[in-house]
Symmetry: C2
């Protein structure tokens, strides 16, 4: 454990490898892509939440000067697609199921012409009854959104481990409550966009700002009805993903359909409004009922939750998210008897989906408040409840998650210390309060096929520089830098001597991309494997040049030394040239691979979902203004166990950014709708935390070492926002004795709760 001090590049505060490109504005985002004959694409969207399409007349649009292609369902194979359930069409077939759904599209010589052409498309609609609430949608007689989904239920989960009834019976106290969350948007600075082109040989090339290239390839190929290889995805620079750019939307598919018809490249970049309506799929909003049983000393004895998750009109990744919300938290604490029932339900709203944290923030919003409630009821410091129940290395959750490294207790200790918890608790001031919550997250997840792996190729150029050819992709999170550090560490060369390629499905091998906090752990392990094979080739040739045994060699700073005779050395460049420029010569190159020791969940949802789990504990001190209901976060602390911290600068950024998004989730965000129509799809009305909304933030990383990780590292990216909303709500309760159970925690809600409490 805590082996980072033995590394020379892993663990260093390094400038990110693509940093120069970004700060100089030279990084090429999808908006910067230009191709000969490039057309602008625009999409006509449904104005109705649920409506039958009787007729589409595109003839006027087609005649507009400058219009090169108009497409609708007739131009597609009318085959639905989706990450887990195929339920979504590229362009509406028969009817539209939410306001914003793609109905038709135009490619024209410029954006304005395309926009004008949209106005000329006549759609004859027949409005259908719509349903906007998940619980209503499950009722008999509710409008049916998908013909093959009775009662609009997309998926159900019903799992019991142990004997929950008996466990509740054995509990000293039982607490129960219901909590609601809202859709939350990623609000990446760069909206979703793509440039698609179609070649005469039938191949589509799509430049897009996706975070999951190979999943995008698979889905786009399915939607277009072609083979995977017939779609080439080239990742551009990405201005933030957070799960929203994982290709659950139709942007690139529509661009491809237009490109094929126009026989010219087509660019479609979402406007900010489109980004809210039909871009990144917002966080799945859920209504979660929780019932938990505790022993007097704070031990968790039983848990039963019921989740009703709002799918919106199409499923995307919501099935997996709902499952995570239902099951994942049982890896955070040592549970024995748990029961979960979940329903994922279609409504006539924007499809929901993956956002940093996946199902965790919704689940922890509910469960961590319930635990807090019990701690208060039992009169135990919530920190002690967390510490007592916290998972340990070796813990196997009731659903089969096998914990390897785990420093959750250390995280609780760190949070306590950073917050000066004991002192503050002892000297509690009026209207101020402390709250904590814990979380667990994965480092990759086995759910796209029976695969939770990654691969990479590394070659050494004749100048001794290494090039990592990886399809994982950089979405702004610093994954590329971490992979370069891992390669440099393994190879013993300076970080400046490592580059990483742009991700490209043609030129890189299969990688699942950026989701589930997986890239450093899975991608990093694949890079380490490739690097170790490359190093073997380097040592083989170096041994010849140095007349030494390969086993006696060490590499450092780009040179290969003979151990114990360090005056004898050659540079990696010497070796690369020597290995290539000789009889029988060959370049130094190797492909590496890694698949996590995780298990695809069985029909009962049993199976170790990830190769490594990361943990965190966060605490807040808040002050509540009893006159206005305004909540001020006085101080926020976060402690994270992500194993070895590969690049502290990047890791700190991850924590800060995710806490900010957590604070937005807690206090500010959430789409407002009227009759299925979003009313705040813009940054004036949908507010995210700005600098002045951020509290003083302290954070630290646990000393930790994940034995299966690359140099001890595991995931981090999502962890930081998982518990935040619960932390703040718990602190508010501690401050003024009211508990807010629906997100966001607005001053109005706090004030109303205070007024009601006063009435009692």
């Amino acid at each position: 454990m805590a082996k980072a001090e033995n590394f020379s590049i892993v663990g260093q505060r390094v400038v990110r490898v693509e940093g120069y490109d970004k700060v100089t504005g030279e990084a090429r985002y999808v908006g910067d892509i230009v191709l000969p004959g490039l057309l602008a694409g625009r999409i006509l969207r449904s104005p109705y939440p649920h409506a039958r399409i009787l007729k589409i007349d595109t003839s006027k649009a087609e005649k507009l000067r400058g219009v090169k292609a108009v497409v609708m369902a007739e131009d597609t194979i009318k085959r639905p697609w989706g990450a887990f359930f195929a339920d979504q069409y590229p362009l509406s077939v028969g009817k539209a199921r939410y306001v914003g759904e793609e109905v038709a599209a135009v490619a024209a010589v410029d954006h304005d012409t395309a926009e004008d052409a949209l106005q000329l498309i006549d759609v004859e609609w027949e409005e259908l009854p719509a349903v906007f609430d998940a619980e209503e949608a499950m009722q008999e007689g509710a409008p049916l959104i998908h013909e093959d989904k009775p009662r609009n239920v997309a998926m159900t989960i019903d799992v019991e481990r142990g004997n929950v009834q008996r466990a509740f019976h054995e509990s000293d106290i039982v607490v129960e409550d219901t909590f609601e969350s809202v859709p939350q948007w990623h609000c990446a600075i760069e909206t979703i966009g793509s440039v698609a082109e179609y070649a005469a040989n039938g191949k589509y090339t799509i430049y897009m700002n996706t975070q999951t290239l190979f999943n995008a390839r698979y889905r786009i190929a399915a939607a277009l009805g072609v083979r995977e290889t017939d779609v080439r995805i080239i990742q551009t620079a990405v201005g933030g993903g957070f799960g929203g750019k994982s290709c659950d939307d139709n942007n690139a598919i529509v661009a491809a359909i237009l490109a094929r018809k126009a026989r010219k490249p087509v660019k479609i970049i979402n406007t900010r409004e489109e980004e809210f309506l039909a871009g990144p799929r917002p966080r799945v909003n859920m209504k979660i009922w929780v019932k938990m049983g505790f022993k007097k000393d704070g031990w968790i004895r039983a848990k039963h939750i019921r989740v009703i998750a709002d799918n919106g009109a199409y499923s995307g990744k919501a099935p997996a998210i709902t499952a995570v919300a239902s099951l994942r938290h049982d890896t955070c604490y040592k549970y024995s008897d748990v029961k979960t029932q979940a329903y994922l339900v279609y409504t006539n709203k924007i499809p929901t989906g993956a956002f940093r944290g996946f199902g965790n923030p919704s689940a922890e919003w509910a469960v961590e408040q319930t635990i807090d409630k019990a701690a208060h009821e039992l009169g135990i410091d919530p920190l002690d409840v967390a510490r007592m129940n916290a998972a340990d290395p070796g813990y196997v959750s009731p659903h089969g998650n096998r914990v390897t490294s785990c420093e959750l207790k250390q995280c609780v200790d760190i949070a306590e210390k950073l917050m000066d918890w004991k002192k503050k608790r002892a000297e509690k001031k009026p209207n101020t309060g402390l709250g904590i919550a814990c979380t667990v997250h994965v480092s990759g997840k086995r759910h796209f096929g029976d695969y939770d792996g990654g691969s990479a190729t590394i070659k050494i150029n004749e100048d001794g520089k290494a090039l990592i050819i990886s399809g994982e992709g950089e979405v702004g999170q610093g994954a590329g830098t971490a992979m370069c550090q891992i390669a440099a560490e393994e190879l013993g060369i300076p970080l400046e001597d490592v580059e990483i390629s742009q991700a490209d499905t043609d030129l890189t091998t299969f990688c699942l991309g950026a989701f589930g906090s997986r890239v450093t752990y899975i991608g990093g392990n694949a890079v380490k494997d490739a690097a170790s094979k490359v190093k073997q080739q380097v040592f083989e040739t170096a041994a010849e040049l140095l007349e030494a045994n390969p086993d006696d060699l060490i590499s450092r700073d780009g040179r290969i030394f003979v151990r114990g005779a360090e005056n004898k050395s050659v540079t990696v460049a010497d070796v690369a040239r020597a290995r290539l420029f000789r009889r029988g010569g060959a370049p130094i190159v190797a492909s590496g691979s890694f698949d996590a020791d995780s298990v695809l969940q069985d029909a009962t949802r049993y199976g170790n979902e990830s190769g490594a789990y990361n943990f965190g504990c966060q605490a807040a001190e808040v002050e509540v203004d009893r006159e206005t209901g305004q909540v001020k976060v006085l101080k926020y602390v976060a402690a994270s166990d992500c194993g070895t911290v590969v690049n502290p600068i990047g890791a700190e950024g991850q924590v800060e950014g995710s806490v900010a998004q957590g604070i937005g989730y807690a206090l500010l965000e959430g789409l407002k709708m009227e009759d299925g129509r979003p009313v705040n799809p813009n940054f004036s009305d949908y507010r995210i935390p700005a600098m002045r909304d951020m509290p003083p933030l302290s954070h630290a990383f646990a000393h930790s070492y994940e034995p299966t990780g690359p140099f001890g590292a595991k995931g981090l990216g999502e962890l930081g926002m998982d518990p935040t909303a619960a932390v703040i709500s718990n602190a508010i309760f501690d401050a003024v004795g009211v508990r807010i159970k629906t997100l966001p925690i607005t001053p109005e809600k706090v004030l109303r709760a205070l007024r009601e409490k006063e009435k009692q």
Copy 2:
């Protein structure tokens, strides 16, 4: 031998893989590359063949609105570069050495502004005495072009094998003569061009239509003073190379220098005039004295040649070309005693260099005429002289070239038959004549470092399609198609299931690229090696799925069968998915490599230069108009031994195209200069063969199998133009008894020779 009938894809007449892109105009040439902020670059060239630069004032040019950068030597590291000798600067340092040399350059918002800015650059010149003839340049007191090259001699060769004096003594007859050739241009339809950009991290990315990416990278990095990895070369579609696009010129380097200074991407595409002045380096013109001794029956007993090769102002690949002209032909026939003396000499003219055939067409122009002369003198059919002396499998040339497969005699037989030689010879008509000549060529050549190899990576996608990731590049010669066929054959999948990547120095491993007829043989062998490793992975997993032994499996049409139980099968796609989507899964990918069994020549020029030799025999029937001197080629035949013919359509195209260029060399082409200034640098005054210049052409391939080649294949691309000029000259001699010894064979020269003959 003749195993092609056992193959299912190799040997088939297939449509080239990039064919659709090209016929639809979708292929992206360098002219099609657009990037944000792209500037147009133009180059200021020396108007003098030899002149000192006293001063360059760019201030007026810099002030012109729209000009973004003006560069001259001061903006460079002033370090000379070159393929073999570093003697050329990106922009003139101190003086210019030929008309057309790059002196300064401008990047501006458009081509016209850049062109206007060139006019505003003031250069103060001091003219220096110049020398234009190689023999004059070697004289004491001639103007010195490079300070460090006394008598302007860039390189000399002086090699004797055996005892030439004794061999001449033992000869029955001795013939001797001197032949002159001219610079010949490649005249690719697309001129040289590049788009260079420079990133804040110091990396140059250059899109260029080069045929040798990694050599380009090495040279450009040297000229710019950076490491190889700091230059990324991405090959665009290439509209013909023929040796001219192998980066011996400054186009891309100047673009890179401008891009760095302007901090914007810069495109420079040669005008047709620039293409003649300072673009592809034209064929090295030589003056070759040949003396050969023969036994009465036609056996070649001795050979002594002296080559004076005109380097022009900078060496480029001329040293290697001069060596080939001096030594290569000794592999065509069974020589014992040979002597060669060669001088490569600087002149104040356009640098000469690599053009299809390298040194062969110049050498064969001289040697094959000398042999023909001897045949006539001895009264032996030249075909019989060729047949008698022709190399055989197992022959080792006096310089160490080791012949593996060789069907030269078969080629002579084929040429004889296709020409109906015996009958025509027996029924000779007045003013018509027959001529033949033979040739040998390499399949790759070990002369860039001690390496004559290639490498490739192949991956199998989840749909069963294979992607070859190769840096060899496609320059229009069909190499990509050949490599796809080789991969498909080895893998047992349909050709439609194989794609090949664009060549890119970052994403592909080291490849020498297209020169020396090497790609099918070397690149093909590397692809075959990668494919066989990939196949091993496929069979490993297929064996599990089929519950069989990997050794019992065969692949065909994209399915894997159990030998003898062919009802049991799985598709390659099944296998790819099964191997990836499982615990411990990994993509199917492997890198392959091949280095030819050739030997870097030693100081005495001894060493087997290539892994395989290809051979050819061509014959012509001509009719000479005694009134006008006009030569009409009535019929032309070509027989080629290229081992297995991988794609007959492509191979036929190679022969037809090269014979056309050979006919141009023989009858039409050659730059004309006055006082060091080209007077015909355009397609009006420099005529190349058009359709109506082409004779009826019959060709055939020898039944041949190269044991070291991929499925028996070896090189072909250059072979077809090597002997053509000699063939036609020999036929003219046979027709009217005059021998033209300087190229091109114009009607004026023929007429003059006829008049002189009549005088005698």
